[in-house]
């Protein structure tokens, strides 16, 4: 065990970044009490063709791209001896999605997983992480997008019911690169994901999309942070969630900063929540800070509502039963984002999972 180099500030719950998170349910990922397991669960689901390299490398060979003030990220960097590194070579366009699964799970120890996804200049790929099983997992992914590269990253949280998953997904997006992330959270006990974007070059564009469905007792937090540091970059955030059941709790935070240098910024963030029963709670906090007026546009919206009785009436007046009408409305609600996942099998799997979550609610 190496000597501790970081002076950890264990969160108390009073900090802005932790004010919603039930710290007691974090399985010790934040305060050092978690037992460190040395499993390396992330594995490719298939052989990758040319233009792609995947390996585990010693952490001394791949220093973090930036410091993090998140205590769990700090612990990942302390505990993970290797980094899972996926590289898309420059000018490589990979047509088939690169699929990964978490092959080793377990609740008896915690995994601290560091991942780097590097896109060479003018490369293009879709990467899909399928998170299943039960695990205690802290994940630190850094995306390094070279100029003109294009990455679509899909992360599917289809965990079993006991999972504690805390993740930081930080993208560095250089000139004219595009980054699209689609985050689907439908399983786990506690899931906390921090999608973060740092623009490094002008003309870059990001889309952060997500869907979540929390049922009784589940806590799902998605906390974005988009930093417009350079001119003429574009960001779109769209997260949609449904909640049902006693103590189902979701948190969506959208922090967008437009720095003084970021002239020509174009940003819009949106969070919509569908409350399907009493006893559930959705927190939704958009936050926009603007240091220059020379922008194309900046806006945000947040709505939380219940089933629209008029929609249900309309569908039922055509003979559709209540349960089917509710299913149609919920599928429709999530449709625009789920359809962005460029894989029909996964789309249908997610929609079926959503149907299943809805069926648990009853009428």
């Amino acid at each position: 065990m190496s000597v501790l180099t970081t002076n950890y500030l264990v969160p108390t719950g009073r900090e802005e970044a932790w004010r919603f998170t039930p710290l007691k349910r974090l399985a010790g990922l934040h305060d050092g009490t978690a037992v460190v397991g040395q499993r390396k669960s992330l594995a490719p689901s298939h052989d990758f063709g040319p233009g792609v390299r995947f390996s585990h490398v010693g952490r001394e060979l791949l220093a973090p791209l930036s410091q993090s003030d998140d205590v769990i990220v700090q612990r990942v960097r302390e505990n993970a001896l290797e980094v899972a590194h996926l590289e898309i070579l420059p000018n490589s366009e990979i047509a088939e999605p690169l699929m990964f699964t978490r092959v080793q799970s377990g609740l008896d120890s915690a995994e601290f997983s560091r991942v780097r996804i590097t896109l060479g200049a003018h490369s293009k790929a879709t990467v899909i992480f399928e998170n299943t099983g039960d695990s205690i997992l802290a994940e630190d992914i850094e995306f390094d997008l070279a100029p003109g590269s294009h990455l679509t990253f899909v992360t599917l949280q289809e965990w079993e019911s006991k999972t504690v998953f805390a993740a930081s997904h930080r993208a560095f997006v250089d000139r004219d690169a595009t980054f699209k992330s689609i985050c689907v959270t439908v399983g786990g006990s506690l899931v906390r994901i921090l999608p973060t974007v740092e623009f490094k070059g002008a003309g870059a564009s990001v889309e952060l999309l997500g869907v979540y469905f929390a049922t009784a007792g589940q806590y799902f937090e998605h906390r974005m942070h988009v930093d417009h540091l350079v001119p003429n970059a574009k960001s779109r955030v769209n997260y949609k969630g449904a909640l049902a059941g006693e103590k189902a709790h979701t948190v969506w935070i959208g922090d967008v900063f437009i720095r003084a240098a970021a002239e020509g910024t174009d940003t819009y963030e949106l969070n919509r929540n569908l409350l399907l029963s009493d006893g559930a709670r959705a927190d939704s906090v958009p936050n926009l800070e603007i240091e220059t007026g020379e922008i194309v546009g900046a806006g945000h919206a947040s709505t939380t509502g219940r089933f629209d009785d008029e929609q249900l009436f309309y569908l039922m007046s055509r003979g559709i039963e209540l349960d089917d009408a509710r299913r149609l409305v919920v599928r429709g609600f999530f449709n625009e984002i789920v359809m962005e996942i460029n894989d029909e099998k996964i789309q249908e799997r997610i929609m079926n999972r959503i149907d299943g979550e809805l069926a648990k609610v009853g009428s």
């Binding site: 929609q311 009436f313 309309y314 569908l315 007046s317 149609l328 429709g332 449709n335």
Partner: protein
């Protein structure tokens, strides 16, 4: 042969100041193949009648009975009423984001017929219904009523009327907001449904304009929550000339 029988129907809605009675005893019988026009001023309760029969939860039935072929429809859920053979073409059809017209229609027809339609014949049916109403084929891929123009919404309602083949249809101000061409196309759709399915029609309207295209057998004047005068097509002519003033002051 079907009969929709409305007897002494009383309906109220909840407001901040307590319940307000809207329908004060409506009697009306509609049989297959018949077209009844209900005409009346705004606020007289015409739409309340339509939505009450269809089962909208906002309206509370406080008296009377409504039967379709002897079965009490007021005891039925909204979808059961549709399965029994009732259809409501709405004045303001509701947007259902993320649900395509094609998916919606297939789900509805599956529910009504009790089994999924055979794909090939169904695609042909939908295509035919859309062509008959001069609708672009891309319409099927759009989300239900989302971003539809007023005319498109009404065509979509009548397309459903033709595809779902109810016994009795209530058309709630289907003519409102339509230009002359759209009015003609929509009216032709209703007339086809009458001819092909021996449909009984309850046509609710404020204006006589649509009655030039869909000829009523009976005209009922509706004012202050009840039917105040009944007659044949000639009554519509009279209303065209005199308006509703004499009924409103009653």
């Amino acid at each position: 042969m079907s009969t929709l029988d409305i007897r002494g129907l009383q309906v109220s809605v909840e407001t901040e100041n307590g319940p307000i009675e809207i329908l004060k005893g409506v009697d009306l019988t509609i049989k297959s193949g018949e077209t009844h026009a209900i005409m009346g001023p705004n606020g007289s309760g015409k739409s309340t009648l339509a939505y009450s029969i269809a089962g909208h939860p906002k309206y509370k039935i406080t008296g009377g009975v409504v039967t379709l072929d002897g079965e009490d429809i007021l005891e039925m859920s909204v979808d059961q009423r549709a399965k029994a053979g009732l259809f409501l073409a709405m004045q303001y059809p509701v947007e259902v984001p993320g649900v395509s017209v094609s998916n919606f229609l297939r789900t509805a027809v599956t529910a009504l017929r009790g089994e999924a339609p055979k794909l090939r014949t169904w695609v042909g049916e939908v295509k035919g219904a859309m062509e008959a109403l001069s609708m672009d084929p891309s319409f099927a891929q759009r989300n239900v009523n989302e971003g539809f123009s007023g005319g498109e919404k009404k065509r979509h309602e009548i397309m459903q009327l033709e595809l779902l083949k109810p016994k009795i249809a209530i058309l709630d101000e289907t003519d409102s907001g339509l230009d002359v061409d759209a009015l003609r196309i929509v009216s032709e759709g209703v007339n086809r449904a009458k001819k092909d399915n021996n449909l009984g029609v309850l046509l609710i309207t404020h204006y006589t304009r649509i009655l030039r295209y869909i000829e009523p057998d009976f005209v009922h004047v509706f004012a202050n929550g009840r039917i105040v005068e009944e007659g044949g097509p000639e009554l519509a002519e009279k209303l065209e000339a005199t308006g509703y003033a004499e009924y409103v002051t009653n």
